[in-house]
Structure formats: structure tokens, C-alpha cells
């Protein structure tokens, strides 16, 4: 039944993405290739992050590493600026592409290799559920980035938006 278990985990991870894609109206805008482009940008940004992580920092290693996560935000901004269209469309395309790329790159292989084995471990279910949470997280992150770049944002919203942006980037650092 281990292939069945892999099927379970895969369904748990992938179907919400599929549902979001279909039901949020992206399919009507033929956004598939735009999402793939967003995914490619994700790959590029990850490569830059990895190569910058390889350089040594003298002080505050974790802090510098978290600052590099700023590149995520820049990448999202880049994707959104290249897409013409309404605000929601831009956000959804960027977030979908980004999160799907992350799903494929970081979760497919561990699931395939691990969930198919004889040994059962709860971590595969956790990993799949985690991907759902990161989908919501990336949608929120893209929305905040978009809001930050809007010039017609009411002044009172500036501060919360900046704080949320900071939280996004330094989330891993603050969790330590």
C-alpha cells in the first residue's frame, strides 16, 4: 500500500493548487505559461540565493542569510511588473507560479523517494500539508509586495504593510 500512501501525500499537496488555479479564474485568462515563467524566475532567484549563501559572512551569519531572502520579494516584484493586467491577476499569477515551482522542486522528490518506502513516517503528511500553508503564504506575500509598490496606497496602511513585509522576510530568522 505504499504507492497508495504516496498517492495520498501527492493529492494532499497538489490538489489545493489545482483547485486554486481552476477556481480563482486564472484558467480563463490562459495564465498557464505566465505561471511557468514565474516558476522559472523562482528557480533563478533560488540559484542566486544559493550562490550568495556560499559566500562567507564575518558577522551575524543568520541575519545576513535571512536578508538574502529579500531576493524572494524582489523576484515576486519582478514577476508582477512584467505581467500586465489587474492587480489580483498579477498577484495570483506570481504566487501560483512561485508556489508551484517550490512544490515541484522541494517536495516532489522527497515524497517520491520517501513515501514509497516500507517504513511509515508522519513527516510526509506534514510535508504535504506544509505545501498548502506555503501556498497561502506566498499569495499573502505577493499581495503585500504589490501593495507596497502601489503609489496610491493610503498613508495609514504604509506602516502595517512594511511590517508585514519585514515579517515575511525574517520569518525564519525570528522563529529561531
Amino acid at each position: 500500500m505504499t504507492l497508495f500512501h504516496f498517492g495520498n501525500c501527492f493529492a494532499l499537496a497538489y490538489f489545493p493548487y489545482f483547485i486554486t488555479y481552476k477556481c480563482s479564474g486564472l484558467s480563463e485568462y490562459n495564465a498557464f505559461w505566465r505561471c511557468v515563467q514565474a516558476g522559472a524566475t523562482y528557480l533563478f532567484v533560488q540559484l542566486c540565493k544559493v550562490s550568495s549563501n556560499l559566500t562567507c559572512y564575518e558577522c551575524c551569519k543568520e541575519f545576513m542569510k535571512a536578508t538574502v531572502d529579500m531576493a524572494d520579494l524582489l523576484g515576486l516584484h519582478l514577476v508582477m511588473s512584467r505581467n500586465a493586467g489587474k492587480g489580483e491577476y498579477k498577484i495570483m499569477v506570481a504566487a501560483m507560479g512561485w508556489a508551484t515551482a517550490e512544490l515541484v522542486m522541494s517536495r516532489c522528490i522527497p515524497l517520491w523517494v520517501g513515501a514509497r518506502g516500507i517504513e511509515f513516517d508522519w513527516k510526509y503528511i506534514q510535508m504535504s500539508f506544509d505545501s498548502n500553508i506555503s501556498l497561502v503564504h506566498y499569495i499573502a506575500m505577493a499581495a503585500v509586495v504589490w501593495m507596497f509598490t502601489r503609489y496610491d496606497l493610503p498613508k495609514s496602511f504604509r506602516l502595517p504593510v512594511t511590517v508585514l513585509l519585514g515579517l515575511c522576510v525574517y520569518k525564519a530568522f525570528l522563529m529561531e
Binding site: N8, L12, I19, C23, G117, I118
Partner: protein
């Protein structure tokens, strides 16, 4: 190697970019997809298989080695095709029979790491069960494992789930399947097959006497192999590590005496360390055949005074001389008997010495003692042992181990099971040495007193020597299936004999091709993996839960607008207040 790899990559990139790209992307994907499943187990441990051998055409022991079954304990109702796990403390023959009757897939018996914590009666009961376990030939693989914390937790979890199997409602079963762990036990080896062309090695060495050609010969024999229900666990401290230690110490003492012309006696001394002793003395049998039937002249043919076999001398307060025919008056055999009695009565009055007479019964499956092999060939022989009966369970048990706590001072807790007591071992060694010396130097006839001690001061029996010998012998299992002609046991014994004796030779026994007297099988030590598994119903349950969750997500996304408007209404009163 790296230059060649970089050259290959250079060529690849020069040829065509898309091709190399697909190659680079495609190949790892294929490799990953077809790779074998990783072996990450909850717990990996070594297991030792029960004996499997054929002796004189009769099959003994467990015939099977492979195992890939779910674990259960004895309390479970359904045991068929499952691996039954039992702890030594709860082991009983009825439970074992129950498992076999229900056609269990395998049996794993968990032994405690420290045997001395086991109470005496459990150890004794297990020792008596060992030959019964082996007597019935079974196709079920039986394994022994040493207990550690993880294995114990696996056992307790399996026990809890096994005992609660029959008695719960459907809801409890569902809940149980979600929370509890099952274990799948898998061995990694292949099926067991017969080992071809196994050579049992025996060693002999001699000390030549002074005074002419036709001197009488005294042969001292001990078998160095050990036996137990699992070959890898048979350390054989008392039986027969003690016999080997006594023989080697006697060789050392008498070679010192024989190195000076004045103290050289008129007897040849022939020392023989035989292999395959626990398998009906195969080493001795072939040695006798070769020496008596196939050689022109040998020490065994001419004039053998007697053969003294040493078997299990490391403990006990009694000493028994086992004979198949009571020695006749005036024979050298009788002389040794008399000397032994005299030494015991004068120097060691608290040792109970007796002669045990048992006729050789050729209709039995196996011979009782080693001296019977010599007796069959009409050589006068006896066996000296602290055991009174050849049927004693202490001769063939895995519980026979060098005790962890040293009993040099006699203090400390009593060790369960047979073991070597160094004081008694050195006492027995000295006793035998004194009696032998009195025979070869003819001391009683010359009127020497009964309490004259020859082996004192520089010639004394060295207890540290005996201790280190027994320690070395019990660090590795010496089952006949594990000691081949290249093993360190044989070469170390050969080296040791070579220091004190002359003409040290190896003697090999290989089973006959067409009608083998003994056949050994392999796959005696395996690595077993215990994988945590969930029952099939758990997967179905999980699929249902995931389907429900996906349904909820779908509804949430479809009606996201509703959620949004609800949130706005919640935020609106606050906005109105600004």
C-alpha cells in the same frame, strides 16, 4: 579520473546544447525513478540463526533463513505467517510449540544483554530446552537477538497491539490503526544453503620421551569447538574452553620438564586438539582412521599407554573419570586411576572423585564422550570431567559463557548458567598434572609420598595463564561451522602449541562427497530490519480524510467571495468609527 570527466563534459557542451540539456535533466530523473527504495528502518539489529546441520544423514534445526513478515507476540490470536517475538524471560516450550502449530512465519527470541540478571531457574529451563528445540527439524526460521532499548520498545508496542486484537469495537480498531505502529521484520540475506567442502581442523603436537625406540605413548585430547542452539552465540566457556586451557597448560608444564635430560621421562606425550567434537567427534574419528589405517607407523599404532580426554573441567566440586571398560589391574590405565585417587585423597580432600562406567552403545545417535572414539578402535581411553552424566545440559548450551564478574575472590553475585571458576580450574589442572607426573615418573612404585607436590614454585600452574586462555577462548564463538582452517582460533592454537611442543601438525576432515557424515549450512548471522508500518485500513482512512479536506478547500475557494464579504462586514463597523 577527474580530468577525463571534465573532458567528457567539454565535448558534450561543444556538440549541441539542447541535447546535453535534455541529457542532464533526463538522466538523473530516470536514475531517481528506477532507483531501489531506500532502506530506512525503524531499527536495524543483528540476529543469529538457530543451528542447521545434518549429522550422519539426520537433519537438525531450522531449515529456513529468509523472513519478511509482520511481528506479533504470542498473545495474538492469529500467528500464521507472522513473526512471533518472545523474550527469554517469558519463553516456554508450549508457547514455541503453539507458534509452530499455527504455522508462524518465523520466531525471534530476544535474549537479555546481561545474562547474569536472569534468574537461575529460567536459565536452567532454557538450557534444558535447547536440545529439544534442535531435535525437531523445522522449516520456520528461528532467530536470536540481543536486547537493547529500541528492540524492547518494539517488543512492548507489538505486545500491546497483539493482546488487544480480538476484543475491540470497530471504532476502536480504526482509532488503533491510526495511532499504533505495526512492525515488519525483514532479513537481508539469502536462503541458506549447504556449505561445500568445509574443512574441520585439528592440531597435534608431541613431546618425545627418553630411553629407546619403543616407548609407551600417553595421548592427551581435548576438543576445542563449542555448541549451542545458535552457532554465533556458543562461546563454550566450560565446555570445552576449560578442557583446552587445561591441555595447553599441561603442554607448557610438561615441555618444561622434558626440556632437561634429567627430568625427561620414559613416555611419549602426544597432545591433540580436536575439531568437530560436538558433532560426534569427527576430528578424532578421522585422525584415528588416518593414523591407524593409512599410515605405516605412528605413535598411535605402537604402544599406547592410555588416552586421557579432557572435557569440561572449569567448575564443580567433583571429578569423574568416565570409562567404557573398567581398567584392568596392572595396566597403565589402572595406574592413572590409582594416582588420581591418591592425589585427590592426599592433596585435595574436598574433591569428590569417582569412576563412572558406561558401556559404548553403538545404537545411539551420538557417542557420549570422546574416549568412546578411542575405545571403538581398541585404544584404552577415559574422559575426565566434573560432569557426572554425558546428557548434562551444560555441555551444549549458549548460556555457557565466561562470567562478566570475575570469580577470583569468590565474591559477587552467583552467575546463572555454566561458567568457568578459575580457582577450580587451576585446582583441577594441578591435580591432573600431579597424577600424570606420578604415572610417567613411576613415583608410587619408587615409594614417594602421596602428598609430594611437584608443580610448585617455578613449575606451578599459572592461574593468570589459564585466565587469559579462557578469556581469549570465550571472546569469539567457536562453533565448528565458524572455525575454518584459516580462522584465528586455529592459528593461535597452532602457534601456542608450537611454542612448547614439537612436530605440530594440522589435520583436516572434509565430509565425504557421496555420503557425508556432516553437512553445515550458512546464513547463520543476519541483519534484520524492523520497519514501522501502518495497516491498510489506515491508508484508506487517510484517503477519506484527504478527500474531505479537499472538498472543504474547494468549497472555500469557490465561495471565497462570501468569506471576503463577511470579513468586510466585520471590518466595516471599525471603519465607520474612523
Amino acid at each position: 579520473m577527474f580530468e577525463e570527466a571534465s573532458e567528457v563534459f567539454d565535448n558534450m557542451f561543444k556538440s549541441s546544447f539542447p541535447l546535453t540539456l535534455t541529457f542532464i535533466v533526463f538522466l538523473p530523473a530516470v536514475l531517481i525513478l528506477v532507483s531501489p527504495l531506500p532502506a530506512e528502518a525503524a531499527h536495524e539489529f543483528t540476529v543469529y540463526r538457530m543451528q542447521q546441520y545434518d549429522l550422519q544423514g539426520q537433519n537438525y534445526g531450522s531449515r529456513n533463513a529468509i523472513l519478511n513478515t509482520e511481528a506479533r507476540t504470542v498473545e495474538a490470536e492469529v500467528l500464521s505467517r507472522r513473526c512471533v517475538m518472545m523474550r527469554l524471560a517469558d519463553f516456554s516450550y508450549e508457547k514455541y510449540q503453539k507458534a509452530l502449530r499455527q504455522s508462524a512465519g518465523a520466531v525471534v527470541i530476544i535474549l537479555p544483554k546481561n545474562m547474569s540478571t536472569m534468574p537461575q531457574d529460567i536459565v536452567q529451563q532454557f538450557m534444558e530446552l535447547e536440545p529439544e528445540l534442535l531435535a525437531t527439524e523445522t522449516i520456520v526460521p528461528v532467530y536470536f537477538a540481543m536486547e537493547d532499548d529500541e528492540l524492547l520498545s518494539i517488543y512492548t508496542q507489538t505486545q500491546v497491539s497483539s493482546s488487544s486484537q480480538g476484543s475491540s469495537s470497530a471504532a476502536e480498531v480504526l482509532l488503533h490503526s491510526a495511532t499504533a505502529n505495526g512492525f515488519q521484520m525483514v532479513t537481508s540475506g539469502a536462503q541458506s544453503k549447504a556449505v561445500s567442502d568445509w574443512a574441520i581442523t585439528s592440531l597435534e603436537g608431541r613431546l618425545a620421551g627418553v630411553g629407546g625406540e619403543d616407548l609407551p605413548t600417553i595421548v592427551v585430547v581435548a576438543h576445542y569447538d563449542s555448541f549451542g542452539v545458535a552457532p554465533w552465540l556458543s562461546y563454550g566457556a566450560d565446555s570445552n574452553g576449560s578442557g583446552v586451557a587445561v591441555l595447553l597448560e599441561l603442554a607448557r608444564l610438561f615441555s618444561r620438564l622434558y626440556s632437561h635430560k634429567r627430568t625427561q621421562a620414559g613416555y611419549n606425550l602426544l597432545f591433540f586438539l580436536s575439531g568437530g567434537g560436538k558433532f560426534n567427534y569427527q576430528g578424532t574419528k578421522r585422525w584415528l582412521e588416518d593414523n591407524l589405517d593409512h599410515t605405516e607407523s605412528s605413535l598411535l599404532q605402537d604402544n599406547v599407554a592410555f588416552v586421557l580426554c579432557l572435557d569440561t573441567l572449569g567448575n564443580g566440586d567433583g571429578l569423574h573419570l568416565h570409562v567404557s571398560k573398567p581398567p584392568k589391574e596392572g595396566s597403565p590405565q589402572h595406574a592413572l586411576l590409582k594416582e588420581l585417587q591418591m592425589v585427590v585423597s592426599e592433596q585435595y580432600p574436598d574433591v569428590k572423585f569417582s569412576m563412572v562406567h558406561k558401556k559404548i552403545n553403538l545404537a545411539d545417535d551420538t557417542l557420549a564422550w570422546e574416549h568412546e572414539r578411542f575405545g571403538i578402535r581398541r585404544l584404552p581411553a577415559f574422559t575426565l570431567s566434573h560432569l557426572e552424566s554425558h546428557r548434562s545440559a551444560a555441555r551444549n548450551s549458549i548460556m555457557d559463557m565466561r562470567s562478566v564478574s570475575s570469580s577470583l575472590d569468590g565474591a559477587g553475585e552467583a552467575t546463572a548458567g555454566p561458567h568457568v571458576d578459575l580457582k577450580k580450574l587451576s585446582r583441577n589442572t594441578k591435580l591432573i598434572a600431579e597424577a600424570l607426573a606420578r604415572v610417567i615418573y613411576n613415583l608410587t612404585e619408587k615409594g614417594t609420598n602421596g602428598d609430594l607436590e611437584i608443580f610448585t614454585q617455578q613449575m606451578q600452574v599459572q592461574e593468570e595463564q589459564l585466565a587469559s586462555l579462557v578469556d581469549w577462548l570465550t571472546t569469539q564463538p567457536r562453533a565448528a561451522q565458524l572455525v575454518d582452517k584459516d580462522s584465528t582460533v586455529v592459528s593461535t592454537l597452532e602457534y601456542y602449541l608450537g611454542r612448547y611442543l614439537k612436530d605440530v601438525k594440522r589435520h583436516f576432515v572434509r565430509a565425504d562427497k557421496r555420503d557425508p557424515e556432516f553437512v553445515f549450512y550458512d546464513q547463520l548471522k543476519q541483519t534484520m530490519n524492523a520497519y514501522r508500518v501502518k495497516p491498510a485500513i489506515f491508508d484508506l482512512l487517510l484517503a477519506l480524510c484527504i478527500a474531505a479536506y479537499l472538498g472543504v478547500v474547494y468549497l472555500a475557494v469557490q465561495h471565497f467571495g462570501v468569506l471576503y464579504s463577511v470579513l468586510r462586514r466585520l471590518m466595516a463597523p471599525r471603519a465607520k468609527q474612523h
